[in-house]
Amino acid sequence: MANSTLKSAALLDQMKLHLSSDAGKGLVKKIGLVYQLNIAPKKIGFEEEVFVVDLKKGEVTKGPYEGKPDATFSFKDEDFIKIATGKMNPQMAFMRGAMKIKGSISAAQKFTPDIFPKPSKL
């Protein structure tokens, strides 16, 4: 992920570290689902980079999931950051078409801002 210029990549790098902490392990226990994120720099569906947030195994990887993820989300880089930091409500994002969802609805419901660590400011 280090070579990606997406903002989301920075956040997902932090997520990767976060999952090794106690709070991160708690997430795996609590949620136990696999999310695939298709993140586009400017427009949904174009030049997407694919990340997998595996809350079953507790990992974050780049590239599509081998198998069927519980839910797949597509958004713009900026919108993902807004959702993960609580600036945008995921429901609002979905309603406005800023987020597209494939897969299980009950899995998608558990995709909330509190699963992502918040970046601290220098």
């Binding site: 280090a2 210029t5 903002k7 920075a10 956040l11 790098d13 932090q14 570290l17 976060h18 090794s20 902490s21 106690d22 709070a23 708690g26 950051i81 930091t85 609580g86 600036k87 945008m88 409500n89 429901q91 609002m92 979905f94 309603m95 609805i105 998608a108 419901q109 801002p113 509190d114 660590p117 918040k118 970046p119 601290s120 400011k121 220098l122």
Partner: protein, 757 residues
């Protein structure tokens, strides 16, 4: 009057000639100045270039507010609001605090002037000042109360004594004041600003102390501290509220009746069928007191005689059944089809019975058989039947009802679950969402939901607007700035920043850059203040303006690099950090200018490492290197760089915060908290460090703790949007949904009461 104007944001500051400079500023300067004391720490400033040589950005440690000169011996006499100016001055003439008495004179002048013509400096007839004030205060239907000399002076003295109590740490005593005739609007202004300023003054004190101070002040001024909590949200969306109230009556029955109806029906059914007993009862009602069980028993007793005969058959049947089972295990096809096996299996099924050594078909005794079989299956106890029934009902019946009910509800688009709701009802989302909310809560009259939803939408739109503004480099100014018209806003802002009054400093500096848009220093300081106040968007916007005016300023370049790093904007951050190197007088030669278009992180990091080798004692190089490694998420290297820099600048609070933030981002939260604490010991009003502490607690899952720190940060800067959003997340994670409303309406009073630090 001077302080009153400053605190209320009144108009007199803008009246030309009413005073030669901002009186509070001058007073505060002489009160808190002690510039000689802080001079030696000049080299530890976050931005080392300081305009005025006699001042310092650096607050000079945590003891600064309690050891100021000229405070220890005066609080008593001046606590009295009616203290005579002359007495006061006499007390101070001996000591060499000339600045103080000058400031005092300045404040006195507008009030004393009319009565004492000798003292009148710039003779502005008082009525004009009043006229201006009335004019500026807007066109209110009720006439603005005239603040004639004496009440204004009383208020001014009173507010001074409040400020002074900050330096002594002595609790502020209540005082009897004559009626001052403050308007509601003035009161609100005083309340809001005094509570924010108090938090800056008393940053090193406990929350209770601050609240006690502010409450005493407000009480003495006859201002209700719950002002806002009680009334409706003042003026925010008045039309919307009105509209809502209007529509409430008409909509409510429509919205609520279906919901209530379903709920009632459901609970009725539930109470009927909820417990297992109920089904048994109903059954008994339908089928007589003892129902099937007794019927069955009767039948059984009638057949006892036959049973006796049949008991032999029973035994035989049992045995043949076992035999048939054994035989059927045999795989031999010949045997499988044999008549014997057919016979045995028929016997076992009771189709044939042996009666008096004769084999007969079983027709006549079928009823007995039924009873027998039934009893076998149910081991004779009639209650087991009932038990089974209730068990079935437990698993099927009540759940069945619930399922059926929820299925039906789904048909009507009113599911508790908002998500499902949105999926199924894409276009009617408003109605559906709201309805789902109300059904979910199961209570009527949650009328604020609509309003909340709409507010959320509006504020979100506002954020979007602001964002697009700031991405274009537009700076969003605050309205109602009392420093507009101040003769030296830059100096004032500088002082306020040094004292840690960040939100006030922002206002003063905004006044400066409105006056002199080409002042790079004003913009730069404004940017730094915003960054410390935890607002990177505004920090970037003002730093951009500073950069336009002075594209080679190193602090501006570094600050832009840091802020863009915080916003995760890697390409921009890299560009500015590289610019820092390019324009550095010492390392500029390292950076070939043609590279600046296509930057690669590894190249830039290499150049900086070379610079660090050239001069390992330059803390700035280590700082930039630390920021760079943050950008590439090489946190261990970043931590090392910041630690190197801290060895050279151990009292740079912003550096401690950078170290802490890096440690937090690489999940070393315990270390991070220590670093933040260092920063806060050096600068108690460092909003960013407070907010970062909240983040660290939240990332560790300690949501309750994080809430307290977010609230603390917000008390000092209510405009820190990030902290509001994070606070909201922490509240819902800590299951404090009861406080979400206070969070959404940004009601700090309620939040501070609930979560004291």
């Amino acid at each position: 009057m001077g302080l009153f104007d400053l605190v209320t944001g009144g108009a007199a500051c803008a009246v030309p000639g009413s005073s030669s400079s901002n009186p509070l500023g001058a007073l505060a300067n002489s009160l808190l100045g002690s510039s000689s004391k802080t001079q030696e720490r000049l080299n530890e400033l976050p931005g080392t270039a300081v305009t005025a040589p006699s001042t310092s950005l650096y607050p000079g440690g945590d003891n600064q507010l309690s050891t100021l000169p000229g405070f220890e011996n005066e609080e008593q006499e001046l606590r009295r609001p009616d203290a005579q100016a002359s007495e006061f001055l006499r007390g101070f003439r001996g000591a060499d605090h000339g600045g103080f008495s000058d400031a005092w004179n300045e404040i006195q002048r507008p009030q004393v002037g009319p009565r004492d013509p000798a003292l009148r400096g710039a003779p502005l007839p008082l009525p004009y000042a009043e006229f201006d004030r009335v004019y500026e205060n807007g066109f209110q239907s009720q006439p603005q109360p005239m603040l004639d000399g004496p009440p204004g002076m009383v208020l001014s003295n009173f507010l001074h004594s409040f400020m002074r109590s900050s330096s002594t740490g002595v609790p502020f005593g209540p005082a009897m004041l004559p009626a001052l005739g403050l308007s509601e609007r003035d009161k609100l202004c005083i309340r809001d600003r005094s509570s924010i300023m108090a938090r800056h003054f008393f940053a090193d004190k406990s929350e209770e102390f601050i609240n006690a101070q502010v409450n005493t002040l407000l009480h003495s001024l006859d201002i209700d501290s719950d002002f806002r909590a009680k009334g409706p949200i003042p003026g925010r969306y008045p039309e919307l509220e009105e509209y809502w109230n209007e529509s409430q009556g008409a909509i409510q029955p429509v919205v609520h009746n279906p919901a209530n109806g379903w709920i009632n029906e459901f609970s009725q059914q539930k109470s009927l069928h909820n417990d297992s007993e109920a089904w048994v009862h109903m059954f008994e009602q339908q089928h007589g007191a003892n129902g099937w069980a007794s019927e069955f028993q009767q039948e059984q007793s009638q057949m006892t005689s036959m049973n006796q005969i049949n008991s032999a058959n029973m035994v035989a049947m049992e045995q043949t059944r076992m035999l048939a089972h054994t035989l059927s295990q045999n795989n031999n096809p010949k045997f499988q089809n044999s008549k014997f096996l057919q016979f045995v299996s028929k016997m076992s099924r009771g189709e044939l019975i042996v009666d008096d050594n004769q084999i007969k078909p079983a027709g006549a005794f079928s009823s007995v058989d039924w009873a027998e079989e039934y009893q076998q299956q149910h081991k004779g106890a009639p209650t087991s039947w009932a038990n089974e029934f209730t068990q079935n009902e437990l698993s099927h019946g009540t759940n069945g009802w619930a399922k059926e009910f929820s299925a039906e509800r789904e048909l009507h688009g009113s599911v508790d679950d908002q998500w499902v709701n949105e999926f199924s009802k894409l276009n009617v989302n408003d109605w559906a969402e709201e309805f789902g909310h109300q059904v979910g809560k199961g209570v009527a009259g949650e009328s604020s939901d609509w309003l909340d939803g709409y507010n959320e939408y509006l504020s979100e739109q506002q954020v979007v607007k602001q964002r697009s503004n700031s991405s274009r480099g537009g700076y969003v100014f605050s309205d109602m700035n009392p420093y507009v018209g101040h003769p030296e806003p830059l100096k004032e802002g500088h002082e306020l920043f040094r004292k840690g009054l960040l939100s006030e400093a922002v206002l003063a500096l905004e006044a400066e850059v409105m006056k002199n848009p080409e002042n790079a220093e004003g913009w730069r300081l404004l940017g730094i203040t915003h960054a410390e106040n935890d607002d990177d968007q505004q920090a970037i916007a003002s730093m951009m303006r500073a950069h336009e005016v002075d594209p080679t300023n190193l602090e501006v370049l570094l600050a832009l690099g840091v802020s863009h790093t915080n916003e995760l904007e890697q390409a921009e951050a890299l560009k500015y950090l590289y610019g820092w190197l390019q324009h550095h007088p010492k390392y500029g030669t390292l950076a070939p200018p043609e590279q600046s278009d296509s930057l690669f992180f590894a190249d830039v990091a290499g150049l900086f490492n070379e610079a660090a080798r050239l001069s390992p004692d330059d803390a700035d190089v280590h700082i930039v290197l630390g920021v760079l490694y943050n950008l590439s998420r090489e946190f261990d290297s970043a931590i090392k760089s910041f630690q190197n820099a801290l060895k050279l600048k151990p009292r740079d609070y912003s550096l401690w915060n950078k170290l802490g933030a890096t440690q937090a981002n690489s999940v070393q939260s315990a270390d991070a908290l220590l670093a933040y604490q260092q920063a806060l010991d050096l600068k108690p009003n460092y909003v960013r460090a407070w907010a970062n502490m909240g983040i660290s607690f939240a990332n560790q899952g300690l949501y309750e703790d994080s809430i307290r720190y977010y609230v603390r940060a917000l008390a000092m800067n209510p405009k820190a949007d990030n902290a509001w959003q994070y606070l909201r997340i922490s509240l819902s994670c800590a299951s404090r949904n009861d406080m979400l409303e206070a969070c959404d309406s940004r009601n700090l009073d309620v939040l501070q009461r609930e979560f004291p630090l």
